[in-house]
């Protein structure tokens, strides 16, 4: 909302310097961060909240300034209208109270269309409106001044001298007063004369009944429209006007007659017309000020301070809420323009904001704390452990968008299994909620492709399940170093006894170089190399290793760490080299060595030459020093097992 300072000054004396005025307006709710210079005028640019239709008018803003400055408001004076004894230009209005709660109209004869006076033109220019002619300019001026949209029709174009408000069937052609054609959606609110649609109610007037230079007689009206219908229609047509913005907020139902009179006064003065009917005023109910109450004890409790009674009353008075007090009960008479004040908490806000939020002391709640755990409790302990490990392993944590394009998902060769899609995306680039974090990490690899070494990870929800995954991607490290990271993760969480199964369905992974990590019942995730086809799709080179693990499942298998006493007996350490057949799975070999006896503390692969694999084996007992004989027995058992199961032999 634009409010020229000189225009405001016509209704209220302003003594605050402009910058301070802007902050005080912001403080009481009219966010005012910019001062514009339009047509040579200083103009406040105010963001108004949807609860305050009255702020969509210069007078409404002036009322707030009057409250800040504690000054009297001088609203424009209207003069009585000399109605004709008998309606000269009669009109019949057929109302539907579900659509219009109020319909206030008058006809005016013998208008002389021409330019409006310079002061009206200048005023309109200062709020970025283009002057058109005296009648249209006056309706715009009064709308801006009082916050009630009004419209003037060429009376002679209203066929049958009858107007009916109804809902469109959909598909009707409508040309607006600015000569733009629309195909109407279903259930738009329109006004028809005997033959045709002449108005898109609350949004734009029709071209067919608009004011032309030749117009002689007019019908001027103000309607109070169903705000939901206006909103739906203006959104579906993409047609937001100043009027529709006011209607969506719900303008002053009690103010139509005064506003109409104001416009009629100006039209008679500047367009030489003569009233040709009485004011027709059809209304659903009488719109009168409502009584609302607020208790001093409540105010003290909710505000946290005791504002003196006198001050409270003067604040309410300055807002024109006519307070009266009886005991601790204040009763206000709420003018119809303040339909936002519905209950005591609204009155509490009125008192607090004018008193000044920044004058309040600051306290902390003193109540007791809840002992029980709340629902939806957030437990990210595993996530935090994982983040610590990965950062120590040299990984950078990224946070990519959850939204991704279909193209990128397809480039990853992922298959659409109930992906969550946005019906109204900002762009095709951000249409899907990612079903996996891997595509984002592949894109990140591409972004960082000049780096020789890349280690990135991310812990986030995937969709639509909203389950947390831990994903990582690495470039520039060997497979064994990559695998070591996954082993470290599992070891830190004390997850043992998992199997590596080489059956991965998702094609984002290399068929031969990827596997699932599985325990008895639980799928922990997948790791391996990215499919060369996927790399080609993204234009990335080099070996790229990645993993995606399921946080919930990691959490369910995590066990607590228990301390194990350090053996006081010395270990016996020896290296054994086995010649093993090709395609032997070394992980399994180490597993079976370790399982040979509880006295084998640790087995480690230390070197490899051709098909000769050297393992370092640590024998140790918790209860005694192992002698040579016992060691030999164990060694023979190991060798026998390897010979039997893997067809290997000792070198």
């Amino acid at each position: 909302m634009l409010a020229p300072i000189n225009w405001l000054k016509q209704y209220v004396e302003i003594s605050l310097p402009t910058e301070e005025l802007m902050w005080r307006l912001t403080e009481i709710g009219l966010t005012c961060e910019k001062l514009q210079k339009i047509n040579g005028e200083d103009v406040l640019d105010i963001e108004t909240t949807p609860n305050r239709p009255d702020w969509m008018s210069v007078l409404g803003i002036a009322r707030e300034i009057a409250a800040i400055e504690n000054k009297k408001i001088k609203p424009p004076k209207t003069e009585e209208i000399n109605y004709p004894k008998k309606d000269i230009l009669p009109i019949k209005l057929n109302v539907d109270f579900n659509l219009f709660e109020r319909w206030t109209a008058i006809t005016i004869a013998n208008i002389k269309i021409g330019p409006s006076p310079k002061w009206i033109q200048d005023t309109l220019k200062s709020v970025n409106l283009r002057p058109i002619n005296n009648v249209v300019d006056i309706t715009n001026f009064v709308m801006y001044e009082l916050g009630l949209p009004m419209h003037a029709f060429d009376y002679d174009e209203i066929k049958g001298k009858e107007m009916t408000v109804l809902l469109s069937k959909g598909g009707e052609e409508f040309t607006s007063v600015d000569e733009i054609s629309y195909k109407l959606p279903k259930n738009a609110m329109v006004i028809k004369d005997k033959e045709r649609i002449i108005d898109l109610a609350g949004i734009k007037g029709g071209f067919n009944s608009g004011i032309k230079n030749s117009t002689k007689n007019i019908l001027l009206h103000i309607t109070i429209n169903n705000p939901s219908i206006i909103r739906r229609t203006s959104i579906s047509l993409g047609l937001r006007s100043d009027a529709s913005a006011i209607y969506e907020r719900g303008p002053d139902k009690g103010g139509t007659i005064e506003a109409l009179k104001r416009a009629v006064n100006l039209i008679i003065k500047y367009a030489q017309g003569k009233p040709a009917s009485k004011i027709i005023d059809i209304k659903k109910t009488d719109f009168r000020p409502q009584k609302k109450e607020v208790n001093l004890d409540y105010l003290k409790q909710v505000l946290g301070i005791e504002i003196p009674k006198k001050r409270i009353l003067s604040i309410l008075e300055s807002l024109d809420l006519s307070p009266s007090i009886k005991g601790s009960k204040i009763t206000c008479k709420i003018p119809t323009r303040r339909s936002d004040i519905k209950d005591k908490e609204d009155l509490a806000e009125e008192v607090a904001r004018i008193y000044g939020y920044n004058k309040f002391p600051k306290t902390l709640p003193r109540g007791e704390l809840k002992k029980e755990k709340i629902p939806y409790l957030k437990d990210h302990s595993v996530q935090n452990t994982l983040r610590n490990i990965l950062v120590a392993c040299g990984f950078f944590e990224s946070m990519n968008y959850s939204l991704i394009s279909e193209e990128n998902l397809k480039k990853c060769l992922l298959e659409n299994k109930n992906w969550a899609r946005i019906e109204n995306p900002v762009s095709k680039d951000f249409e899907f909620l990612r079903p996996s974090i891997i595509p984002s990490l592949i894109l990140a690899t591409k972004l960082n492709q000049t780096k020789k070494k890349i280690k990135l990870f991310e812990i986030d929800k995937v969709f639509p399940s909203e389950k947390y995954k831990l994903s990582g991607i690495c470039k520039g490290i060997t497979f064994r170093k990559f695998k070591g990271i996954i082993e470290t993760i599992l070891e830190t969480l004390e997850i043992k006894d998992y199997k590596i199964i080489k059956e991965v369905k998702e094609k984002v992974w290399h068929t031969r170089r990827s596997a699932r990590i599985v325990t008895n019942k639980t799928e922990l995730g997948v790791f391996g190399e990215i499919n060369p086809k996927v790399k080609e799709n993204f234009g990335i080179e080099g070996e790229i290793w990645a993993f995606e693990l399921d946080i919930e499942n990691l959490k369910s298998l995590k066990s607590s760490k228990l301390f194990k006493d350090i053996s006081t007996y010395p270990p016996h350490i020896e290296d054994i080299t086995f010649i093993l057949p090709e395609k032997t799975e070394i992980g399994k070999v180490i597993n079976s060595i370790e399982k040979t006896s509880g006295l084998i503390e640790k087995t480690k692969l230390i070197s490899k030459f051709k098909n000769a694999w050297t393992f370092r084996i640590v024998y140790q007992s918790q209860s005694k020093t192992l002698d040579d004989k016992e060691i030999e027995k164990l060694r023979n058992k190991i060798i026998k097992n390897i010979e039997r199961i893997y067809l290997g032999r000792v070198k």
């Binding site: 912001t26 403080e27 709710g29 966010t31 909240t49 949807p50 609860n51 305050r52 705000p227 939901s228 909103r231 969506e248 409790q301 909710v302 505000l303 301070i305 908490e345 609204d346 509490a348 806000e349 607090a352 904001r353 939020y357 920044n358 309040f360 002391p361 600051k362 306290t363 902390l364 709640p365 109540g367 704390l369 809840k370 029980e372 629902p375 939806y376 409790l377 957030k378 983040r387 040299g394 990984f395 950078f396 944590e397 990224s398 946070m399 968008y401 959850s402 939204l403 946005i422 019906e423 109204n424 995306p425 909620l433 984002s440 894109l443 890349i454 990135l456 990870f457 929800k461 969709f463």
Partner: protein
Amino acid sequence: METEEILNLKNEAFAQITTAQTKEELENIRVAYLGKNGKITNLIKKIKNITPEKRNKYGRTINSTKQNIENLLFERKQQIIEELEKKEEWFDLTIPGIKPQIGSKHPLLETLKEVENIFRYLGYQVAEGPEIETDYYNFEALNIPQDHPARDMQMTFYLNLKDEKGNPKILRTQTSAMQVRVMEQIRPPFRVLVPGRNFRYEQVDASHGFEFWQVEGFVVDKDISLTDLFGTIDFVLRELFGENIKLRFATTNFPFVEPGVDTYMSCTICNQKGCPFCKNTGWSEIMPAGIIHPNVLRRGKIDPEKWGGFAFAIGLSRIVNLKYRISDLRTLNTPDIRILSQFK
């Protein structure tokens, strides 16, 4: 065995010891003379073969020789240690070290942890909820019915998924969606913090994004007041940004609070000189809040005549930007290692 021979052995050892330069050399000398098979040790072993008349004198000579060698070894060792410390040498301490390759945590989640800790200190419990929401929890329950103009400020993404009533599910536009979800399941008093991601239909630029993070908080108790809300906001922002920040409160309107509060903090990016981030105002809108509207409490099955509450939402993405002086919101979602590695 002659005493002379012992003397020679002693001189030999003395010569070696005085010329030795390192602790290792000394140790070798010790082993060579006094070790298990050392030259002196071997002489001691032979004492029993010597005639009793000579044995006494011989024994004394050899013992004193052993003692002398040991003493000299000790002295020389002290000298060498002394020299190690005093020796003139060139040692460049400015030469760059070789750093271990550690990674970094994302600044948004690190900041979130900090925020959560501050609130835990104030007795809040932390919750998290769904990002795929129903219109009911995101809007209706919060006093924002269909066709309410407040929906304009939160343009919504609709999904191809349906709720039980067959209405399209949405991506939540605000963490406030969790207020009624939590209220439905517990009784006051409570203090709850709900961090999380939200989505709004917005074109991406330096200060807008279609994904952003908020930290929602709400407290329901007896005697909750506006001063408690101001005090909480003040405490939390000063914990996060230090005592030097300036704060100011303004009235605003959200249908689910009344009175409504907006919080402006002095822009830390430009030190209030004016920058694109604060739209040249010197102030950043950072923490909208208010007293919970009775209608919302009713939806959460809480009697507004008995209980009251306040709620707030911290723009977490914005906090991170202000904290690290990042002027473009998109930075946090760009997985460029040159960016991420700055947060080590």
